[in-house]
């Protein structure tokens, strides 16, 4: 383990420059540049320490905003998926009842706290709410197919969203570590200057 890491450390500078920006951005989120050496980083940006820190902080704020947006989208999707599953459940129940030849009696909510009884007999078709004040009638089979497709799309979107969030978190972590390193480097520089000044004063 120790020898392997020593090896990687020596060749890491070459690998790092290539891998430092494996993706420059993802879906509009800029990637955080991994800093090999603070000195080179600062001269590359041509900024002094305070400006560099301000720039990094601003980046962190931007990342935070995007994270809020993505988290809200994730919550919506996570609520939508069980809803679609419930719909599939009902359609399946209606189909099963139809095969049994019985009517389905159900209590449904008319208004908050008020329920009414319904007897559902002919269950060849169901109406699906498509959004935008549109409701369409489908046969039970068609409805199942459509709902299944919606469920798969929702799950796929959720996966992509989670991957986006992970990418974002990586960039936030990299930026936070860079902030710490720039700050520490600055403290280190000040100490060197102070020591040099003290030595100069003595002589």
């Amino acid at each position: 383990m120790a020898s392997a890491s020593a090896e990687t450390a020596s060749s890491s500078s070459e690998i790092a420059t290539a891998a430092a920006s494996p993706t420059t951005e993802r879906r509009g989120i800029p990637a955080a540049q991994f800093v090999e050496d603070v000195q080179t980083f600062l001269s590359q940006l041509d900024l002094d320490v305070n400006s560099a820190l301000a720039f990094l902080q601003e980046r962190l704020q931007q990342y935070k905003l995007v994270e809020m947006k993505l988290l809200a989208q994730q919550r919506d999707l996570q609520a939508k998926i069980p809803d679609i599953e419930k719909c599939l459940d009902i359609v399946a129940t209606l189909q099963a009842k139809k095969e049994g030849g019985e009517a389905l009696t159900a209590d449904f909510e008319v208004s908050e706290g008020i329920f009414s009884r319904a007897r559902i007999e002919d269950t060849d078709s169901v109406c699906l709410w498509l959004g935008a004040n549109v409701m369409l009638e489908y046969s039970c089979d068609e409805a199942t197919v459509l709902l299944q497709k919606n469920l798969e799309n929702a799950k796929a979107s959720l996966e992509v969203l989670i991957a986006d969030l992970q990418f974002l978190r990586d960039q936030v972590t990299i930026t936070q570590v860079t902030v710490a390193r720039v700050y520490n480097w600055d403290v280190h520089q000040r100490r060197i200057r102070q020591a040099a000044a003290a030595a100069a004063n003595e002589s």
Binding site: T8, K86, C87, I90, F108, R169, V177, R181
Partner: protein, 123 residues
């Protein structure tokens, strides 16, 4: 040797990133496990209520409505739901263990290199 002399390599950065992601997943898992346990309790309560009731037709929630379902069918449905839920809970608990183990491994590596310069504990 001063702290600021420690070089942070890309490999270190990737380890830190991985730890952060694992930590987030750990918290998500705790929430999911809590929810699964609550569902389990609810299903248990429902099962118990079913035993106590003497009605033949039970109002069983499917989607947004309460369908009139014969008691035996409700029993079977609840058993099925409990099965599914236990499996989910088991899977989540296993994942949580794996995540914790990976986090501990990374802690060893990162503390080993950075010692006091890094803090990987929960606030």
């Amino acid at each position: 040797a001063e702290k600021s002399d420690t070089v942070v390599t890309w490999e270190d950065q990737q380890n830190i990133n991985k730890f952060s992601k694992l930590n987030n997943r750990f918290h998500e898992l705790e929430d999911e496990i809590k929810f699964a346990k609550e569902t389990n309790d609810n299903l248990e309560d429902a099962g118990n209520e079913l035993i106590l009731t003497d009605e033949d037709i039970v109002r069983f929630q499917i989607g947004e409505v309460f369908a009139h379902v014969p008691r035996e069918e409700v029993e079977i449905r609840i058993e099925e739901m409990k099965e599914v839920n236990s499996k989910t809970l088991e899977k989540l608990e296993k994942e949580k263990e794996t995540v914790l183990a990976q986090m501990n491994e990374l802690k060893k590596i990162l503390y080993g290199k950075f010692r006091d310069s890094i803090n990987l504990e929960e606030d």
